[in-house]
Symmetry: C2
Subunit: 430 residues, 2 copies
């Protein structure tokens, strides 16, 4: 391990013309900033069209609206916005009527906010509290998406939903090394709020929490960010707080067939009400960045199995070059260590998930005096126990990255299919 | 108090052509997004020039560099960026040599990062830890500014700086209602990092902390945001998390004379080393947003003394209309309550400060189950005890807003004058 394989060339995909395949992959990571609402996925656009679209969008990103209504919920295959404000709620009321009422109110509010409109009627009775809290007045929709899902605990007698529970939909099993803290786990309902503006995202969560008063309370929340599109004129794959590109291997969100295979629950999977929905895994992964920062570049690159600068697999040249797990150097050692993150996450390529993670920075950990920062890992998949669970079991056991990370939070949610203007989110449960 | 004064008209300054005075005020709030580095303040630009400049900037905000070197430090009269990452450090080493070495290293790093460059040489020895942590590689400078100041505790025997302490530069006195928590207070050195990209700001603090290893440790940090410029095409005054515009009354940063009166310490003030510097007050102000959200619009507007929608003073039409504290309604009651925030903060207009605050959202308060969100109040002034202290004493005693806010953190820093490429920040102390 003493001879490190320096990257063959400094060429980067970003300095070259994009191939069609590159474009599809970039779209999958949010790289091109395509505007694809939940229900707006049509056929496969040509690469040329997509590049034009990408250019248009990055110029006026924040003005864009992403429709709330559609076949699928927005915020799943939507290219990642700049910010997230994730909120997990617990129901305090019981009975299906209370839940339905909440879902109806949230649907109307989410649809309005996605259009940049305030919640409710703002005619302004001075002797009542304002219906909308007002901090996003005058701001553009900023590609706001609000994605709702039911946690395993919602499928119980409180709401008469026991029979609706998807087969084997439970909390995740314990993984090797987990150090979960209850304050970052679970929730009857999960709401993923993403936008290109943090104030717009904050406003959405706050107003949903307000509408839930008397029915549900916040259980935990987590703010997150990635580099803003404006700061990254070349629209590269975003980097995590360990300095490495994250999301390179995501499947192409513009490929319907792939999304049906990887992301969208199918009616044949059962239960039928989840058809067109998706299962979300959320893990709050703290990074031991002070320890990471003391490790050598060689260790860091061997840990990920990629070059830090270009994101290319070790031994390759460009970020999107094929990952060859059998390639060896002159001494006969594997170029990409078998216990590196990319080697384990990729495996034989048969198991895929759609990652949609954000970095978080939560001030200081008073116990250690170190930064509480890391990754709010989020992935969407058709089947948690066929995709995320076996993948994470493998990573938890052997991933070299485990030396530098700590899973402190965990939750799963069954994200409903989309709804139309005549319906409401979660309606399929009743 | 039963008849509320509805706003006379819905006209807003934003729908009308801007007067020169309007433009100056907008510039003071960051509304026009002018690029004015610390050392780049020349004469008064014409309003017309400023409007052109503003338009150019909002199109490519994130690409802009703000020079680190200059007569004054950047980040003080610089129009507010979208994000802040504030960091307070405590020295662990002693002796003026250690402090000088730290300041030199920080100066070089801050200057590089302000230009969008990595910290140190990136030639890449694979068997050493990387010099730069890498998460901002490929990102634009995003108007990054890094502003350094010395806390009162730095002026002691550890560094032989006892004689350099500015007269009466101490921690702030206790104010009525303060509920300060040690975890949000003080610091030997304060570093205000602002940028239009959160990842760029995070990267800067992390790398400064890394350079300080063995010399200084983080004492507390706070992330903050405001609405992004991209989400606010009309460039209005940003709103705080209570839904009201915040910063309307700021002095004009383009007016040298006003800045010399309000912001910059003068050599005649003493000590001479602070000439061209400024004193920074930082207060972490938690907002009881759940209680606020239950109050009527009337109560909210009477609390601020302004209309929520337009930001205009009660009884007036437009945001920047004069605040007439003597105006009365038909019943003979004051239009603007005497204990409203605007009435007390304005007073007779003789005391001004330059506010440069950000909203923060720090997850949930586990003790109360409510959101820990509010304002990271920051102001710059020529003299803390002639400007901020008397103002805050008045507010702490009588401000109607106190029902909805809680001061939980407090710190002050003497921000050095700017430095040139041949010098380093804080050099004036030695």
């Amino acid at each position: 391990m003493s001879d490190h394989k320096q990257q063959p060339s400094n060429d980067s995909i970003l300095n070259k013309s994009l191939t069609r395949r590159d474009v599809l992959r970039l779209a999958g990571t949010g790289g091109l900033g395509l505007i694809l609402g939940g229900g707006a996925i049509g056929g496969l656009l040509t690469a040329e069209n997509k590049r034009k679209e990408g250019a248009r969008v990055s110029a006026s990103n924040a003005e864009e609206r992403i429709p709330f209504y559609g076949t699928h919920q927005a915020g799943i295959i939507t290219p990642a916005q700049n910010f997230i404000y994730f909120a997990a709620f617990d129901m305090t009321a019981t009975g299906s009527k209370a839940l339905q009422k909440l879902f109806r109110a949230w649907t109307a509010a989410a649809a309005a906010m996605s259009e940049g409109q305030p919640v409710g009627d703002e005619s302004g009775n001075y002797n009542l509290p304002p219906v909308d809290t007002g901090e996003s007045a005058g701001l553009s929709p900023s590609r706001l998406t609000i994605t709702f899902g039911a946690g395993p605990s919602l499928f119980d007698d409180r709401f008469g939903l026991g029979a609706k529970r998807p087969p084997s939909f439970t909390d995740l099993p314990a993984f090797n090394g987990d150090q979960l803290e209850p304050q970052w786990c679970g929730g009857d309902i999960g709401v993923q709020v993403c936008a290109d503006d943090m104030q717009v995202a904050f406003h959405a969560v706050r107003n949903l929490a307000r509408l839930a008063r008397g029915t549900a309370v916040l259980r935990w929340v987590q703010e997150g960010f990635q580099r803003t599109a404006a700061a990254d004129p070349k629209s590269g794959t975003p980097r995590n707080l360990l300095g490495f590109k994250d999301g390179t291997a995501n499947p192409a969100v513009t490929n319907d067939q792939e999304m049906n295979k990887v992301v969208w629950a199918q009616s044949s999977d059962g239960p039928s009400w989840m058809a067109g929905g998706s299962y979300m895994a959320v893990r709050r992964i703290r990074m031991r960045i002070e320890i990471w920062d003391r490790s050598t570049l060689k260790d860091q690159e061997d840990t990920f199995g990629r070059y830090r600068g270009s994101g290319a697999p070790l031994g390759a040249v460009n970020e999107f070059d094929p990952v060859d797990l059998t390639a060896k150097d002159k001494s006969g050692n594997l170029m990409i260590p078998a216990d590196s993150h990319v080697a384990l996450a990729r495996g034989d390529g048969s198991v895929q998930i759609l990652r949609r993670s954000y970095s978080y920075s939560g001030g200081m950990d008073l116990k250690t005096g170190q930064l509480d920062a890391g990754l709010l890992f989020i992935s969407f998949q058709r089947d948690l126990f066929k995709q995320f669970v076996p993948l994470q079991q493998k990573l938890a056991k052997n991933d070299r990255l485990n030396e530098y990370i700590l899973h402190v939070g965990s939750a799963v949610f069954a994200c409903f299919p989309g709804t139309s203007k005549n319906g409401y989110i979660g309606e399929v449960l009743f």
